[in-house]
């Protein structure tokens, strides 16, 4: 049995006496919190049996045993040296993470800031920008084709505007053309707007050059890998298109073909899907009627 003086400790005094024996002070708060919760739980259980709060607290403290013995025992599992090493380890891991974040993401953040502060004036892969900076761009042809309309499975496709601008060949750097087409697709059913044309879109010019579509490159490469004899090696993609604007019945597509042979006078935009559905738009590269 503990000495009478010791059993009259309050919960705070008990915890303080325990912690006095634990040399690693950073753990004092956690030990105090845990022991206090235990003492309060025990006292609450005793109070529920009709014992006065003062006596319940006293009994809870004395049930814990000698604080000095407990403190010495706890000191064994809260050794100062491993404790400080653990803290050092945690701090260095956190510092390393912060440094990593700063060095990996700060350059990107500044890039983004530069982009926002000074946006590029001219991005030659965007048809909208050509229209926006019309006076700064050399335009070889800009017209609305007369008879470039096709009907297919209740869709009406039409070329609304054709823009021909000079652009260096993306691989060789030699002079070439870029042909931008605003393609319009109309369907009576609003839920059938925006047909996905990008997979079966490609182009061909009057000299016999082919400009395969962007989404046709990967399958062509795969086929060439499987049957190198039969399937030709794919050329770099040169025909692209994506929906740009949607209204309930109409979808506009920004379609463009790059690296077009500057000698060509006519370009035919083609869609064929598994060889079944075929659509084609002959477009003049000099303006006016195609095929004339």
């Amino acid at each position: 049995m503990a000495a009478p003086g010791k059993s009259r400790l309050t919960m705070e005094q008990f915890c303080a006496q325990v912690c006095a024996r634990v040399r690693f002070w950073p753990d004092h708060a956690a030990i105090t919190a845990e022991l206090t919760a235990h003492l309060e739980d025990h006292a609450a259980a005793l109070e529920a049996r009709g014992i006065s709060p003062e006596e319940a607290a006293e009994r809870a403290v004395s049930a814990m045993g000698d604080p000095e013995v407990l403190g010495r025992e706890l000191d064994k599992s809260h050794r100062p040296l491993p404790g400080w090493f653990q803290i050092l380890f945690r701090v260095s891991v956190r510092t390393a993470l912060v440094l990593l974040l700063v060095f990996c993401f700060l350059p990107r953040a500044t890039d983004l800031y530069d982009l926002i502060a000074a946006p590029p004036l001219y991005n030659d892969d965007d048809t909208g920008v050509i229209v926006e900076h019309y006076d700064q761009v050399e335009v070889l042809a800009d017209y609305r084709p007369e008879h470039a309309v096709c009907y297919l499975e209740h869709y009406t496709f039409s070329a609304e505007r054709v823009l021909v601008t000079p652009r260096e060949h993306s691989v060789t750097g030699e002079p070439a053309l870029r042909v931008s087409v605003l393609l319009k697709a109309v369907h009576l059913n609003p839920s059938l707007r925006c047909p996905r044309i990008s997979g079966w879109l490609w182009a061909e010019d009057d000299l016999g050059n082919r400009y395969p579509g962007w989404n046709q490159y990967d399958p062509a490469e795969l086929l060439h890998g499987l049957y190198p004899e039969q399937a030709a090696a794919p050329e770099l993609y040169t025909t692209m298109g994506g929906p740009s604007l949607q209204t309930p019945f109409v979808t506009y597509y920004d379609v463009y073909v790059i690296d077009v042979d500057p000698e060509a006078v006519q370009l035919t935009l083609r869609f064929d899907r598994y060889g079944k559905i075929q659509l084609s738009f002959p477009l003049s590269l000099n303006g006016g009627e195609a095929g004339g």
Binding site: L35, D41, A45, A63, M64
Partner: protein
Amino acid sequence: MKADKSLLSGSTTLLVLSLLSTGDKYGYQMIAELEEKSDRTFSMKEGTLYPILHTLEKTGAVDSYEKEAPSGRTRKYYHITKKGLKLLGEKKEEWTTFSQAVNAVLAGSAPTLA
């Protein structure tokens, strides 16, 4: 019957681990359950529990997390790990061997006691 202290000390780790093997518990809950299950045989000093728990946590046999109880008091819950379950198995086996040996000796000396 109250158990002798020295008899208790060696097996406290086994008791703590086996209490935790049925679910996550906080300190006072374990004491209360121990008293209830053992019919007050183990009326040890409640403080003894914490050095054992903290040592088990250091060796990785249990881990702990803090959770707020419905009463608003934050309690430190202990959870037995895979390593702890393995340790429990070993301790149980040790205990069974030990108690069988003690029983065998007691059975041998029984006639003289009678």
